[in-house]
Subunit: 197 residues, 2 copies
Amino acid sequence: MARPRTFDEGAVLDAARERFWTSGYAGTSMDAVAAATGLGKGSLYGAFGGKHELFLRIFDAYCTDVADRVIDALTGPDDGAYDRLCVHIRAAAAGIAADRSHRGCLLAKSAAELSEHDPDVTLRARQTLERITSALADDIRAAQRHGDLDSSADAEQLALLVLAVLRGTEALGKAGMDDDQLASVAETAIALLPRTE
Amino acid sequence: MARPRTFDEGAVLDAARERFWTSGYAGTSMDAVAAATGLGKGSLYGAFGGKHELFLRIFDAYCTDVADRVIDALTGPDDGAYDRLCVHIRAAAAGIAADRSHRGCLLAKSAAELSEHDPDVTLRARQTLERITSALADDIRAAQRHGDLDSSADAEQLALLVLAVLRGTEALGKAGMDDDQLASVAETAIALLPRTE
DNA sequence: CCCGTTGTTGACGGATCGGTCCATAACTCG
DNA sequence: CGAGTTATGGACCGATCCGTCAACAACGGG
């Protein structure tokens, strides 16, 4: 009944995310987004509302995606739970070390820039970290059931600590720490996990 | 021989730091800095050069200050080393929890925003974290000498892990985690430190 | 007491900001 | 093939961006 869109919404959101990711929220202009996506500004505003709505939409999708991936990586049978945890911690550190541009994680970057003034961002960031904590705790409980981790340890608290180590590794990477230092953090964290007596 | 300055450089830098800290680098205009400091823009540019130079000057001082404070808190006789470490970890978590505005640490915020594009910021951030790591490692070695921490553990690696936990706690705080969750991270980290057998 | 030097101020410039608007295009339905 | 509806692209808006500049102010040396 009306003129159809000529752009792929997903591709536009991808291109816009790259811009926000690289230059931050305040550092990215809507003109730059328009140029990166190929859309005119009218289309951009018509389709997404405005800078803040567009960013929130992108941020939301990113958060969901990140948490989904972690949950996926940590879910499985009890007898692989401990291995999955170790692999995940090592992979996170390796991924951060491989990011030589120090672009880091969009969640962390956005939370750092915006959480003071933007409750929407804070809320989504917290919910995402809670989903990740939950997945970590589930996996830790599985490892405890299977006898790999000390079952007297509090799985929730251990999950929070692992999350802090993961986010801390990210922060260290952004500050330019060496690859082997990042790997060392992962190994030390794994070594300190309370194994079965 | 020439007209003397009428402003206190330290006070101007303090006011400017507050603006950058609150709104980020890209989000802070030089007009805003001028308004916050009370200086005209001409004086601002005349005295500090430009936005980037001004920020680097502020960032430098902040980094030095943060590292100095940590070093001070962790330095002392061997028989208090373990206590100093625990107190510092708890105090860091408590400090982050007390920061209800989620403003966080200027070092972390600036590194997140700028380290991708600004090697000066990355360099200073890394040097600061290295000073802190060094202080942590020294304190850990002191605690090992005094018999509080397992002397078979690698102090440098342990220091890196503690630093990751500290920076991770900061990231969790910025994402709006509860106070007791932050405290839990600190306690769990302390509990997992390898005590003497 | 005047001159050279430096600090101060706010107006100014060209570029860019987020956002709006309108002429035009592309589509469906009658 | 109109009529109605939505998409498109870019000109345009007032505000703001970073940085400059010129007029003026305050000092010390001669």
